[in-house]
């Protein structure tokens, strides 16, 4: 399969998964809430193209796209959202709290940044692998982010901070949230920074490759800032943005852009493969048993 076809399929898998999540909510299939990755697919796919087996990914509340791009199993993710025993974390975590292989996500903004930075410390000590930390523009309001950037830079830790600037912190636009420049916030700690358009897969892949080469060669942390837009609401029913604004950004859909480069027949074939995969994953997850209260274990045992 050509790279272009692979990329299209990877992005479409995320798109269809997230669309299905939003479509299925009204059926009462899920517990809690969710934060979809619609519109931001090219970032996860482009950045994690460079993720090797020994690398680590630390994600946030909007984690499904990162998880799928990392290679996480779709059925287990669907099952986790549905609170099934076969879920990624047996139904304990739900949409935001995933741990799988070297992938970790959690639900409170900012706190994942020191977590990932500490993992990079361990990677450096072992001489193996780097860490990808995904954060949004909203998380830049948390002070612990800057504490982490400072130490990551002081200790030259192998970590790439990927900022997905989707212009909104929940419902609040970035103009009301963030003073000064995005780039400057990283440059202040002497991190190399690349800024890219978040719908341009190749630009994302190239810029992250450049930064990752530096990180792998021991030059310390770096930041990739991606300008993007989420097509869906922050979670599910809380979208107050101007519909015209959304429509304008939808015209710059990364999926439409990549699809243009593919023969129509190929695109349709991939579309069908992905539709089938997503439908099957949700059907299987729905037929899986609910998580069993018997599976609950105490968080600490008595040590003898």
């Amino acid at each position: 399969m050509s790279q272009l076809v692979q990329d299209f399929q990877s992005m479409l898998r995320i798109r269809r998964f997230e669309e299905t999540v939003l479509e299925s909510f009204s059926r009462g299939l899920f517990f809690g809430t969710t934060h979809t990755y619609l519109g931001q697919e090219a970032i996860a796919v482009g950045v994690l193209y460079h993720c090797s087996q020994e690398d680590i990914v630390v994600s946030n509340h909007r984690c499904h796209g990162h998880f799928l791009a990392y290679g996480g199993p779709m059925r287990s993710l669907a099952a986790e959202l549905m609170g099934r025993s076969t879920g990624v974390c047996g139904g304990r975590g739900g949409s935001q709290h995933l741990t799988w292989n070297h992938f970790y996500s959690s639900g409170i903004l900012g706190g994942t940044v020191p977590l990932g930075t500490g993992m990079a410390f361990a990677q450096r000590e072992r001489g193996a692998g780097i860490v990808f930390v995904f954060l949004g523009d909203g998380a830049l309001g948390e002070g612990v982010v800057y504490e982490s950037l400072n130490m990551a830079s002081l200790w030259r830790l192998p970590v790439l901070f990927v900022v997905e600037n989707n212009k909104y912190a929940q419902t609040t636009p970035i103009e009301k949230n963030l003073a000064g420049g995005l780039r400057e916030r990283f440059a202040a700690f002497s991190l190399p920074v690349e800024a890219v358009e978040g719908a341009e897969l190749d630009a994302i892949r190239d810029a992250s490759k450049y930064l990752i080469n530096g990180i792998r060669s021991g030059s310390g942390p770096a930041a990739l800032i991606c300008s993007t837009y989420r097509f869906g609401p922050h979670s599910k029913g809380d979208d107050l943005r101007d519909p015209q604004e959304i429509a304008r950004h939808r015209a710059n859909d990364p999926l439409i852009r990549i699809r243009k480069d593919l023969p129509g027949e190929t695109a349709s074939r991939i579309q069908k493969v992905v539709d089938d995969e997503v439908r099957t994953a949700f059907e299987q997850a729905e037929s899986d048993p609910m998580a069993d209260p018997q599976s609950l274990t105490p968080p600490l045992e008595v040590l003898s």
Binding site: Y104, L115, G118, V144, M151, L300, S304
Partner: protein, 331 residues
């Protein structure tokens, strides 16, 4: 004799010697300063690669240490004053304590956060508190408190080398200068130690009759309680035992319940303010365990911030005479 401070320092040194995975992180912990209370003195000289000074970023470096622990290292963090723990509450409560359970035991977090708590040195409202009570009862976080009747070196070694879960390790500032007691050096006292990685000790006056009252205390309050036991025994002929857990949370009250079943009297002693505190939880647990009709009293700080001035601080924090009168009240 070895002081608590020396014992802790030796314990940390032996951890660094025995495991390449042990790292110490904290503010101003490098030589020649060796930490605000000198617990890490000499260690950065011997282990320069693994003793790391940090910026003043408690949330950041507890979070970073959590990430290190998730990936197989054994970080030991020093928080200069326990009062500063609130800065890192999110990292402890929402990350360190939850990662193992959320991942169905896929992830382990062998992190130790050490910190000095307590007053009696005139440091005033923000450098004298015993904030550990706010970290008790957090599922997934173990809270330990050292005291001078159990080897601090062994206690810290257990937490650093043998515990694979996050530990908040409380050290009272005034404990540092006390001599460590064992059975041979406890003078007129007799010390018994329970089984387990984090034993509970029971201390009585040797040669005294069966105790009439059980005093539960941890940390430096163990020292105060023993002073009270001495005064009660010699001055009032009231004999008391002190039961001192090392593990505060999750609470394990089986041993204590056994003692109180016998004495029918319990006095809890803690240096934090009493409302919603450690003693309250012990009393509730014993009631729920089916003990009824036992008399209780609770000794704690007054419910207000801790003042700096000597006489004011003394009035707010529990003293030996408060323990003595609390015991006499239930006898």
């Amino acid at each position: 004799m070895t002081t608590v401070l020396e014992s802790l320092n030796q314990g940390l040194r032996s951890c660094l010697e025995e495991s390449q995975e042990v790292y110490l992180l904290g503010e101003d912990i490098l030589d020649p300063y060796g930490g605000a209370f000198k617990v890490t003195r000499g260690l950065s000289t011997s282990f320069p690669e693994r003793v790391i000074t940090t910026p003043i970023s408690e949330a950041g470096f507890i979070g970073i240490s959590t990430g290190m622990a998730v990936r197989g290292l054994r970080p030991v963090v020093e928080i200069m004053f326990g009062d500063f723990l609130t800065l890192a509450a999110d990292q402890l409560v929402n990350y360190a304590a939850k990662l193992r359970w959320m991942s169905v035991d896929e992830v382990r977090v062998p992190l130790v956060v050490r910190t000095p708590m307590g007053g009696r040195r005139g440091y005033g409202p923000t450098h004298s508190q015993s904030l550990e009570k706010h970290f008790l009862g957090i599922p997934g976080l173990r809270v330990l408190a050292l005291h001078h009747c159990l080897s601090p070196a062994e206690t810290i070694r257990s937490a650093v080398l043998r515990d694979n879960d996050p530990v908040l390790f409380i050290e009272h500032k005034l404990s540092y200068g006390l001599d460590v007691w064992d059975e041979g050096s406890a003078g007129e006292f007799h010390i018994e130690q329970s089984a387990g990685l984090y034993p509970e000790v029971r201390i009585t006056l040797a040669e005294a009759p069966q105790p009439l009252v059980t005093i539960a205390a941890y940390g430096y309050a163990v020292h105060l309680a023993l002073e009270a036991v001495r005064e009660l025994g010699y001055g009032h002929e009231v004999f008391a035992e002190v039961v001192a857990p090392t593990q505060l949370s999750p609470a394990r009250t089986d041993g204590l319940a056994g003692h109180v079943r016998r004495t029918r009297r319990l006095v809890t002693v803690e240096e934090a303010s009493g409302e919603f505190g450690w003693g309250t939880e012990l009393i509730a647990s014993l009631s729920l365990a089916g003990l009824d009709g036992f008399r209780v009293n609770r000794v704690a700080a007054m419910d207000m911030p801790i003042p700096a001035s000597g006489p004011l601080e003394k009035a707010v924090l529990p003293q030996v005479e408060d323990i003595v009168s609390a015991v006499l009240d239930v006898c």
